[in-house]
Each structure stands twice: as C-alpha cells, then as structure tokens.
Symmetry: C2
Subunit: 496 residues, 2 copies
C-alpha cells in the first residue's frame, strides 16, 4: 500500500468509524433521556453489536497497514493529521489486545448497568449494582494487564486513557499539594450541622420556571441552539457529535433551584468547548475535546470562575428574580452571592463548593487506586467510601444514595476518570489567570453575555479540538506547563 | 456451505442486520422528535453510512450463498423460517439491483428532505421541497426499472414493496367498487361551507391537558408503557424495535382537541400490533407488522371501529369531561358522538371522516400512478392535486399546506404507500365483522379497557408478526380472502 492508497483507505475507514461514533452517541443519548425501562436490555444488545463493528473496523488488517504507512510517512502529513495518526496507532494497538468477545460483553454490560444504577441509587440499594460493579472492575483490571507497557502499569494505564501522560506520579504530586494547602482550610470549616441553607434557596421553584431560566442562561453563554439542545436525565451530562450536534442534560429539584442553575452553567461550558471546535475537524477523530481534564476545565470555568462571580450576577440576578418573583423577592445580590459561594462539608460531589470539591475527588482517586490494585473489593466500597469521607471531610453519608451511589461513573465502567475533574478545575484556574492578563473579564461580563470570553477560549483552547495533547494546549494557552499553584492560589484567595 | 453452516452464518448476519435496523429506528426517531434543525444534515450523512452498511451486509456473497442453501433445503426449516428465507431472497435480489452509491444517496436525501418538508409545509412553500421531490420520484422510477419482472412492472413494483401481491389490478377493482358505492353518498354531502364544527370542539384545550388525556387513552387501550412511550412530532407516527420498544408520537393543536385524541387512538392501534407480536420473533426479520396494509388495519380499527363507537365513549366520555371540565361542561354524549362521526368535505386526510377517507386515498393513488408513469411532473403536483380534490370531493384546498404538502410520505421518498391506507380500512372492516361473530364487542368495551379485543387480535393477527403474508393472515383470521364488500357495507350502514 503506497502513501496515497493508505490515505484514501484511511479516510474511508475513518468515515465508517465516525458513523459508528454517531450511533453510539445517539443510542446512548436515547437510553439516558428517552427509552422506556423495559426496552433498555434489547437496546443494549444492539449497542454491543455496534461495539463489535467498531472493534472489527479498528482491528482490520488493511486499516492497520494504512495507519502504519501514514505513520512512517508522517512528514508528508499536516500537523493535525500527524497527531491523529499517532493517537490512532495507540488505539489500534490497545484494541487488538482486548479479546473481541470481552469488548462486546463489556459494552453491553455497561449499557445494561446504567438503568440498574439509576434504580439502585433511587432505592439506596448498593447490593443491586454490586454484581455489575464487580464485572466492570474486573474488566478494568484486565485492561491494565492487556495494555501495560514498560512505563505504564496498573491504575496508570487507566489514568492515561482519560488523560494522556497523566499518571499516579503527577496526580500524587498534585493531590499532595492540595492536601497540604487546602485540607487545613477545609478542616477549619464548622461542623456539618452548622450550615443552614437560606430559606429562599430551599423553597419550591417549579420545574418549568427552572427550565426557562436555565434556557436563558444558555443564551447568556451563547450556546448555539440551532446545533444543540437541552433535555433531562438523572445525572446531567454533555454529549455530542462534532460541532453540529451538541446536547446537554439537566435535572430539576423543586427544593434546590441552585442545582439546575449551576448544572446548566457547567454543562454549557462543556458544550461551548464542542461547539467552538474548528468545524474543519468534524468527521475526523480530532473533533471534540482534547481530554476529560481539558473538558472539565471548560465546564468548571463557566460554572465557577464565571458563574459564581459577582460580575456575572450583577447583570443576571435581576433576570432570575423576574423568573422567580415570589421566591427571590426579598433576596439581595450579596445574599445570593454569599449563598452560591458558601463553603461547607457536604456529601455530594456535584453539589460541592469549590473549596471542598477536590477532596471529593481525592477520595475517589484513592479508592480507585485500591480497587484496581485489588486490595479493595467492590463489596467493601460503601464502608471504604464512608471512612474516606469521615477522614477528609469529617462527615459520614447517611445513605449510599448520598454516598457511594451518587455518581454514575463506576456503574458505567469508568475508572480513572474522576481525577480529571480536579485536574480540570486546576487547568481552569491556570487559564483564568492567563485570560485575565489579556482580557478585562469583569468588563466583558457587563456586556450581558460571554461572547468575548468565549472568543478568547475558542482561540486559545476550543479551536484545537483534540488535535493536540492537553499538555500542549495548556502550554500554548498559558505560556507554561500545567501548574497547580494557580488553582491553590485561586482557592486560597477566595476562601483562605 | 452445508445446511448447518448456512444456518449459522445466516443467523450471525441477521443479528448484524437487525442491529442496523435498530440504529435506523433510533436515529430516525431522534431526527423526527429531538434533534436540532442544524444537526440534521450531519446526522443524515451518518444514516447514509448506515445504509451503506446495510447494503454491504445484504449483498454479501456468503450471505447470499447461505440464503440460497437454506432456500434449497427449506423443508428442513420451520414454517416461520421458511417464510423469512423467501422474503430475504427477494430482498437480496432487489438490493443487488440498486447501485450501492444510489442507495446511499437516496437514504441520505430522504433523511435531509424531511426537515425541509416540515419547513415547506409550515411556510406553504411547495417550491422549497420540489427539487427533493424530483429526485425522490426519479429514484422510485429507477426502482421500477431495476426491480421489474415479467409479471410486475411500473407502479406495480412499488405497490408490491408495501403490500405483497397487491398490484394496480387489485387496487383498481377495489377503488372501482368504492367509487361506485361510496362516491354517490359523498356527492350528496352539503357544500364545504355548510359544515360548522360545534363551538366546544374548537375552544382552546391546553396542551398539557390533551397529553394527559391521551395518556389515559393509551392505558385504556392497554399500551405497555414499560416497553414504549409517546412523544411529539410534526406528523404522528409509530415506530419500534421488536416488542420491547414501541414508540408513538402525537401532535397537539390547542384549537382541535379531537386531532390528538383520534391520533393517539390510531397510533396506539399500530403500537398494539407491534407489542402483541410473538416475542419469539424478536431478533428475526419476522417481528413487527406483516405489511403496511395490515398495520393500517389495526390503527384504523382502534381509531374508528372502537374509537368512534358509542360503547367506547359511554365509558370514557366522562373521563374526558373530567380532564376538560370547562370546555365539555355542557356537551352531552350524543352531541360528542355526532361530532366525532360527522361526515363532511374536507382537505386533510388525517382529519377526514371515515366516509370521505377513501376518496383522499384514491386521489393520491391516481396521482402516484401518473407520477411514476412520468405523465405527471413533480412541478405540476399542486395543480393536479387541486383538480382531483375538486373532482372527488368538490373542494379546492386554499393552500398547499392544506393540499399537496399535508402528508410527509412523498418527501420521505415513499410512493406506493398511500393505497395501503384504504386497504387497511377495508381489512379492518373485514376483521371487525369476523370478530363480532365470536365476541360481543359492545360488552367488551363496557369493561373499561380493550383487553378482550386486544386478545382476539393478538390471537388472530398480531402474534404472527410478519411471519405470514397479509393475504394468509386475512384468510386465517376471517375465513375468507380479502373482501372489500365488508368495508362498503360498514360505511353504507353507518353513513348511507
């Protein structure tokens, strides 16, 4: 196969693989937002078939040959294509090491586990999801064996899957810094019972009103509704297909309006990253975010740096009052800001304040390490969870629903994903510092929307999509390597 | 390839093809109910890729060989499998005759045309959809050439695709009978302007209330909501995947509550057919309805024979009054029944009464014949449409929205489909007559739901799925061949 044959074959095969991604996206979306409970099982079987198809295409001998030819002639490729081929080579090598049947079984299992997880969380019934977790952990342990290299072993294999080049060595350093600088501040927080949410924040806010205001916020953040939408699901998430179809979900609790408000800001951050990617990358493997950590840096940037700022709410709080005239009649802007920036010991990661948030992640990271090493068994998860919460946050969840069952990641088969959330928060802080050198963010927010801020992020982060490694993007955008001190400084300045 | 090898290969390939069907279903559903306008085009490209995959699998040489081996040894197969292999052989032969690229282009075009059609209907802009229609007609004309046989030519090729063994010869006879017996009754109807809908029926009925009552009706008809659901779309439809996932859509017009009420009865009829199919047929090509005509017989049976009957509303009208206490306060059951059974000259097929309904179909049938023969051009459709309406119903639609743009079928590339609607109505009448010999339908309806009626239909029609030809099912269920006189008698007795 010569170079131009290889390129042609590669592009044809890539088109097929991109289509497979679309059908994963659309069936996953359907199962999580629409499908009736009783149809999930047969849908999962079809998803397993699609996984088999993806496996076939990825491990196809001619595809491998084409990628090898392109790799060997990478000086004939442009920069984006060179990066893509490097990533694809790694993917092929990893795919080949998974027995096809195990891969299909795993995809089917993960799809089936999701509704079981939702029910288990609802029923506070850890035992219901346990057999699924055991199999999902086993699969991840097997991955670490199949994929290990001289430099990458055990849990590191999984970490690298979600964040290229980020291993326990770097995470340990990062988390050590947080434990050293942030944990003492957390330790000084009053006991859990002493935090009382202001009465206005726990009044009933009717769902339709919440939806309308969340849609208003999507407009403020310049989400393109012609190429995306928002629906409901158990756990808010963002998913998409290129720049043309970017979808977020939200959840609405009548007694907790702030949950949907900050979820929509968070998910819209993810969505903007996808929507602002260079559209020329559509149809390639370089469309979408560069990594989970980079993605989370965008969601947490919009949720926290923008969404919890005084300047943002100086413009938008009156609109929120217009949406909820009864509930917010006697609430002042300073009262509102104090509430949305209150720090407290709490059980649920997604509802946690910025200060305690990384502790929730460190807990999960340490548990995952032990789970994958095998020294912690799935059946002992609730106990291990509760002990870690006592140790880091001084509180013990009263139920597994508020404890080990709160997140869907493990039930989806994702181990090694959580640490990217803390990484994302830290990257967000580093980007924020760099942005502020070039942009008067407060003034930008006074314009009523985030267009200028979006433009900065598009130019320095979003446009690259996945055409560079996260480390490269951080360096290009901020002028230095990943540096968690920006995060520590940000947290200490705000909460210290 | 010996018999058992052939059987094994066939079953593996069938699993892949069934998965392809699922992804067609789920992406089509998404595009029609969920996706943002701006994402349709890229989604359509992925659907075209899926079509290419389906084409590859269907025209695969080993698959063909396997099917041939099974066909030659069909005395070793059970009855269902024998029927399936016969149908698959025909499908393979037809698929092979379509150039792959044309097939993919067509699937992509049909997907892209749908949102254009929705917009064109909304804007009363026939010109917007015309270029799509021209290509879709051309494709159908090409199909008639690719697929023609010594006994099947022209429009007959398309008719046979939707209804096995039903050609212009049989349809002409059927429609001749209707024109002879029913058209004179239609001719005696007062002029269009003289029908005035009762005031209560055109008052605003809020959408949420309509949704709730439609959900109530789904329960009355025993739709299994654990394995299905209802959403909204421009044009109500039913789609599904085996017995485990059956979905209907509805539309809500505040000023026309009867539209959503009779649409939900109609679509739930389709859905019951799918849900009551023998679950053992899931994962085969014999799951789902036997043909478009058989499907329509079920929807129109529940909509008309059940849903417009005095006995049905004797039980359920008071529930409708409870849902809409203001609007229906002063309406009596006889007034309601008179309104939902009123006959009138009208523009829109889906809103037409039972008597004039077949005229709407005859108009489309005659137009399609001319379109496929080539003696009518797509650009002349609005004029031809209006002339036919003047001739059969004595009225001319004031807009194309109420005329040639009212149905999505042509814009979806479906020509030869409409006549099955009239066929379905006639089969419904024939089944109804047979059912009444064994079942006291009025008494069944007094029980408050349709469980006993569903059981009769399950036993005599639904359970077979697509494992028999429609002609066979009609014969088994009613003891005689398709006989349109039942339909004529039913209409004349009710409206004559």
């Amino acid at each position: 196969m010569n170079f131009s044959q290889a390129l042609e074959f590669y592009k044809t095969q890539r088109k097929k693989l991109v289509a497979v991604r679309y059908f994963f996206f659309i069936s996953g979306w359907d199962m999580q937002t629409t499908a009736a409970q009783g149809s999930i099982e047969s849908a999962s079987e079809q998803v397993a078939m699609l996984a088999g198809r993806q496996y076939e295409l990825t491990s196809d001998a001619r595809y491998k040959e084409a990628v090898q030819v392109l790799f060997e002639n990478s000086n004939n490729l442009d920069e984006v294509m060179r990066h893509e081929i490097e990533c694809v080579q790694k993917e092929i090598a990893q795919t080949e090491k998974i027995p096809k049947q195990r891969y299909e079984q795993h995809m089917s299992l993960a799809a089936k586990a999701y509704p079981v997880y939702v029910q288990a969380k609802h029923d506070n019934d850890f035992a219901a999801i346990l057999p699924y977790l055991e199999q999902l952990i086993q699969y991840n342990q097997d991955l670490t064996l199949w994929w290990q290299t001289p430099t990458l072993k055990g849990y590191d294999v999984l970490l690298d899957m979600y964040e290229h080049n980020f291993t326990t060595k770097r995470y340990d350093e990062f988390f050590q810094l947080l434990k050293q600088k942030i944990l003492p501040v957390v330790g000084k927080l009053p006991a859990e019972q002493q935090y009382i949410a202001p009465e206005w924040s726990t009044q009933p806010y009717y769902k339709e009103g919440q939806k309308k205001f969340c849609n208003y916020l999507m407009d403020v953040l310049c989400f393109d509704k012609n190429k995306g939408l928002m629906k409901e699901s158990e756990h808010p998430f963002t998913n998409g297909f290129g720049t043309n179809d970017v979808r977020i979900t939200n959840h609405y609790y009548e007694e907790n309006v702030l949950s949907s408000v900050f979820s929509v800001l968070h998910e819209t951050g993810h969505a903007l990253y996808e929507q602002q990617c260079d559209a020329n990358l559509n149809g390639t493997f370089c469309s979408g975010g560069a990594s989970m950590g980079m993605h989370e840096s965008q969601s947490r940037f919009y949720e926290n740096m923008i969404g919890r700022s005084k300047e943002f709410w100086q413009v938008h709080f009156k609109h929120m009052q217009q949406h909820f005239p009864v509930q917010l009649k006697h609430v002042s802007l300073p009262q509102f800001l104090q509430c949305v920036n209150a720090v407290k010991r709490s059980f649920v990661r997604t509802e946690a304040d910025e200060l305690t948030y990384p502790m929730h992640i460190i807990i999960r990271y340490e548990i995952e390490k032990e789970l994958i090493d095998g020294c912690l068994k799935a059946k002992d998860l609730p106990q291990a969870w509760n002990e870690k919460y006592r140790s880091y946050l001084g509180i013990v969840p009263p139920t597994d629903t508020l404890g080990v069952l709160q997140d869907c990641h493990w039930a989806s088969g994702d181990f090694g994903y959580f640490p990217t959330y803390a990484l994302g928060s830290a990257i967000a802080a580093q980007l924020f510092a760099a942005m502020q050198k070039q942009l008067d963010v407060a003034q930008c927010l006074q314009s009523g929307n985030t267009a200028q801020i979006n433009s900065w992020l598009k130019e320095h982060v979003h446009k690259y999509g996945a055409s560079k490694y996260p480390d490269q993007i951080v360096l290009l955008a901020t002028g230095e390597q990943f540096n968690p001190n920006y995060y520590v400084d940000y947290l200490l300045k705000k909460f210290g």
